[in-house]
């Protein structure tokens, strides 16, 4: 063994490799409160109304479309033999996938001690909740007679029947409802200290009352923080297997079947990676404009954008591995149906869907290997939208191409969506953006107390935290 006991010399990192601080320009605690809280105070700016009114109109259209569908029947959708799962399930999986980035940021990155998450987790969690709301609409309506939806739950009924738990669709019911509930709890729990911030700043009685009510009388007591942090850690620890299980269970809807292109063992991790990928796409799509409009460049820095691009790259590449494995194993298995299915993906009538899928999900994120793309906000914004489009097409490819040509050529068909499908989908954006804009208006979009905890002043042992005893920073210098 190399003898090595003498005092060590630690080099100062070269300038180009220094880490940028998480909050730029060394702002104070108070600045963070002011900056974030002020977004919810005062009159709503013009741009907010410009976005809010169309969103509400879109939401109205959604309600109209849903009413039309419920009163008429699922025949108003394009679903037709042999493609009985169409845009409804595509959009369900797409929306729920988007939600996953929020939980990844709030829970998994918390467990991984990724401090940068504090600047983006609140907005991402809000995105999760609203995306799951959009997703939940589809299966509830897809059953056809939505007034029987309660049969999905284990509730006693006059037929003395019980739900059938061997069906993956039942697992979905439990997964999605648990996901929504736990995400909401987690989000609310994170909000408690920040609601107290808003309470203490409130000028009007109404705000004081409402923020006071929902902040539960939070005082910032360290005895409370101690339990709070433990509970937060535990919720993060519970949400991590939850987020993995939700999209795994969604993937089981497909993979426990025997259909080529659906039945493949890599589906659970592949779906999870894809979900996180699309979710980060959406986080970037939302946050890049917001940080400019709200002047949050010091809180959501280029370092944050850079890291999120890298996560997109990593998950996109994992998805690419899964695509490659699917093709490879279809060939390897020698199963003619499998082989036909995958050739049909690339060369069949929906070849364009496959092109979008591979192009946007595997090839486009590879641009993020280059720093220029990660640092150019316009490029990141465009690529993030392409990621969302690509992931929509992935679900399209799996569902529609999987179903439209199965084992018997007599069963083949061609699926197109109906206008109701398209308008309903656009309507869900109305719901999503209405909720998101309301969130921006009334709740702090950045986790104030968490960001305060990661700046240098927060650390009692950091010189900026007021520590008088200056330990040796670097031997060399």
């Amino acid at each position: 063994m190399a003898a090595h006991v003498s005092p060590i010399t630690v080099p100062e990192p070269p300038r180009e490799l220094r880490r940028e601080p998480l909050v730029a320009n060394y702002h104070s605690f108070g600045w963070i409160s002011d900056r974030v809280s002020s977004l919810t105070e005062g009159k709503a700016p013009l741009w907010w109304w410009i976005l809010f009114i169309p969103s509400v109109l879109c939401l109205g259209m959604l309600l109209f479309m849903l009413g039309y569908q419920i009163s008429t029947g699922v025949g108003v959708w394009g679903n037709m033999h042999p493609v009985m799962w169409g845009w409804d399930i595509i959009n369900f999986v797409w929306w729920i996938g988007i939600g996953h980035a929020g939980t990844l940021i709030s829970a998994i990155l918390f467990l991984l001690r990724q401090k940068w998450r504090t600047a983006v987790n609140r907005a991402a969690e809000a995105m999760t909740i609203f995306a799951v709301m959009c997703a939940g609409i589809y299966p509830a309506l897809h059953v056809g007679r939505m007034w029987y939806d309660w049969w999905l739950f284990p509730l006693p009924n006059t037929y003395t029947m019980w739900p059938q738990f061997r069906s993956p669709l039942m697992w979905d019911v439990f997964a999605v409802s648990t996901y929504f509930t736990v995400s909401l709890l987690f989000w609310y729990m994170g909000l408690i200290p920040d609601l107290a911030v808003l309470r203490d700043r409130s000028k009007s009685k109404v705000r004081q009352f409402l923020y006071g009510l929902f902040s539960l009388g939070w005082t910032g007591s360290n005895r409370h923080w101690s339990n709070y942090e433990k509970a937060y850690l535990l919720l993060a620890g519970l949400s991590t297997p939850l987020v993995l299980s939700v999209h795994s269970i969604v993937s089981l809807d497909f993979s426990v079947s025997q259909l080529p292109g659906w039945h493949t063992t890599i589906f659970p991790p592949y779906f999870v990676a894809g979900a996180i990928f699309s979710g980060f796409g959406m986080v970037l799509t939302l946050l890049i404009p917001l940080r400019s409009i709200f002047k949050l460049q010091d809180l959501i820095t280029m370092r944050h954008i850079d890291i999120m691009c890298k996560v997109t790259l990593a998950t996109g590449t994992i998805v690419g591995y899964a695509y490659a494995m699917e093709f490879f194993i279809a060939w390897y298995s020698g199963n003619p149906s499998e082989r036909f299915h995958f050739m049909n993906r690339a060369l069949g009538p929906y070849w364009w869907g496959w092109m979008f899928m591979v192009g946007c999900n595997v090839l486009v994120p590879q641009l993020f290997w280059m720093k220029w793309f990660r640092q150019n906000l316009v490029a990141v914004f465009i690529l993030s939208i392409l990621v969302n489009i690509g992931m929509w097409f992935e679900r399209f490819v799996i569902i529609v191409i999987g179903l439209h040509r199965d084992f018997l050529p007599a069963n083949w068909g061609y699926y197109s969506p109906s206008p109701v499908d398209i308008l309903t989908y656009i309507g869900t954006f109305g719901l999503f953006f209405t909720m998101f804009l309301l969130f921006l208006r009334f709740l702090p979009m950045i986790a104030i107390s968490e960001v305060k905890g990661v700046i240098p002043q927060a650390d009692p042992h950091n010189p900026m935290g007021g520590a008088k005893t200056q330990e040796i920073i670097h031997d060399k210098e």
Binding site: M1, A2, H4, V5, P7, I8, V10, P11, E12, P13, P14, E16, L17, R18, R19, E20, P21, A24, N25, Y26, L111, P168, L244, S248, L252, S255, V256, S257, Q258, H263, T264, T265, I266, F267, P268, P269, R291, S292, K295, Q297, T301, M302, T317, A322, M325, F328, I329, W331, Y332, S333, G334, N335, W369, Q375, L377, P456, P463, M464, I473, H474
Partner: protein, 414 residues
């Protein structure tokens, strides 16, 4: 933490001969087996080979992700992984030679007199031909050689020169490397293990081998770090949090492996198609069923519950037991994959299993110790070392990164 309790450097001199003894005894047993029971020898060798391949590949993965994530905490232990990954070439490549020679005795598909009549085999043309097998194997080792030697080489170069250039180089290698790594690990797992039952297919198999490999590598790295710490080789630069992080990763991979294996089993169980279920049915025959149960409990539940508490991740005797257990379980898991071909009636712990494994343990340990002793025990001038030691504070005075970065704070119309 316990780490301060060891005052004197741990002296392992009396165990210095253990690797040699393992090599000698194991080598003798293996050589004997080669003449006495060649088929068993080939399978036992393959089992031991796949076991240590796990270690090399797992270590390579740890190095790759360290650079890709621009991590700081793992700088003090990176040299261990770097040195471990270089066993892939030439050590593992040489250890592959017996498999290369005895391949027809191991892989049933190679014994097929008319490959064109076996559809599952014919469909895999040209990958599943003798030349396909050798070309793929050679390709894997070449890529691992290129990656592991360059990743170690540039890291060693940084020990001399310091500076940012080696860091950038290492990142470049890791970018290309992670993709090559994914492809070659999958090919290795498919060609050398899954091909034992070539009719069977599962898209998850590469991930499955990967999950187990990284799991046992983390256990290994934990123990090596602990020993080096007690020998006062790394004690200057280690904090309690390195143990905590490796322990947490070990925990994470315990769950990840279970997730992967459960998913694979569950999907096959549910779809219930004979072309897939036969692989698991063969592993439910005789005592293999109980091996499966041992894997469920031993590979998942015991380490899962054992690692759940935060504080145990830095209790050395406890963690040592868990890490040894992880080795045992990985061995059982690979045995579950490989051995039902040779012993379809049930699990057999043959003396050759132990012999081949002992030989490779001794050899790999010797090679690793020699390499490790020849170079500094940690990356001396890595730019992230000061951060790993908790000495790096981003400061607003003098020349902070904030003043230097042109993008900083000015992007987006500020």
């Amino acid at each position: 933490m316990n780490r301060s309790s060891a005052h004197l450097p741990l002296n392992l001199a009396k165990y210095r001969n253990v690797p040699n003894i393992l090599m000698a005894v194991g080598g003798a047993l293996a050589a004997l087996g080669f003449f006495v029971n060649r088929e068993q020898f080939a399978f036992s060798w393959l089992l031991a080979f796949m076991f240590f391949l796990s270690l090399g590949l797992g270590a390579l993965f740890l190095v790759l992700v360290h650079h890709l994530f621009d991590a700081a905490w793992s700088v003090p232990i990176r040299r261990i992984s770097e040195q471990l990954s270089t066993i892939l070439f030439p050590t593992m490549a040489l250890l592959f030679l017996p498999i290369a020679f005895l391949a027809p005795q191991v892989y049933p598909w190679m014994r097929e007199p008319h490959p064109e009549l076996d559809h599952a085999l014919h469909a895999k043309y040209p990958l599943f031909t003798m030349s396909g097998f050798y070309v793929t194997s050679a390709l894997c080792f070449l890529i691992w050689w290129w990656l592991s030697s360059n990743l170690r080489g540039w890291s060693l170069k940084q020990d001399q020169t310091g500076g940012a250039l080696p860091t950038y180089k290492l990142r470049r290698y890791s970018c290309v490397g992670i993709i090559l790594f994914a492809v070659t690990l999958t090919l290795g797992a498919v060609m050398w293990m899954k091909a034992l039952m070539h009719e069977w297919f599962s898209t998850m198999y590469g991930v499955y081998y990967f999950a187990g490999s990284v799991w046992m590598t983390l256990a290994t790295v934990y123990v090596i770090t602990m020993v080096l710490d007690r020998q006062k080789v790394l004690s200057n630069i280690l904090h309690a949090n390195q143990y905590y992080y490796i322990g947490s990763l070990l925990f994470a991979f315990t769950v990840f492996y279970a997730y992967i294996h459960f998913s694979q089993y569950f999907i096959i169980w549910n779809a219930n198609m004979p072309e897939e279920t036969f692989w698991y049915l063969a592993r439910e025959k005789g005592s293999w069923f109980y091996v499966g149960i041992v894997i469920i409990f031993g590979h998942f539940f015991i380490p899962f519950l054992g690692l759940l508490r935060i504080d145990v991740k830095s209790v050395f005797p406890y963690m040592l037991a868990i890490c040894v257990w992880a080795w045992l379980m990985h061995f059982v898991d690979l045995s579950f994959n490989i051995m039902p071909i040779l012993h379809p009636q049930g699990f057999v712990l043959h003396w050759l299993d132990l012999g081949c494994w002992a030989f490779m343990t001794g050899l790999v340990a010797t090679v690793f110790l020699k390499k490790f002793a020849a170079h500094p025990p940690y990356p001396l001038k890595d730019p992230r070392l000061s951060e790993a030691l908790g000495l790096y504070h981003a400061m607003p005075d003098s020349f902070s990164a904030a003043d230097l970065s042109p993008q900083h704070g000015r992007q987006g119309g500020k």
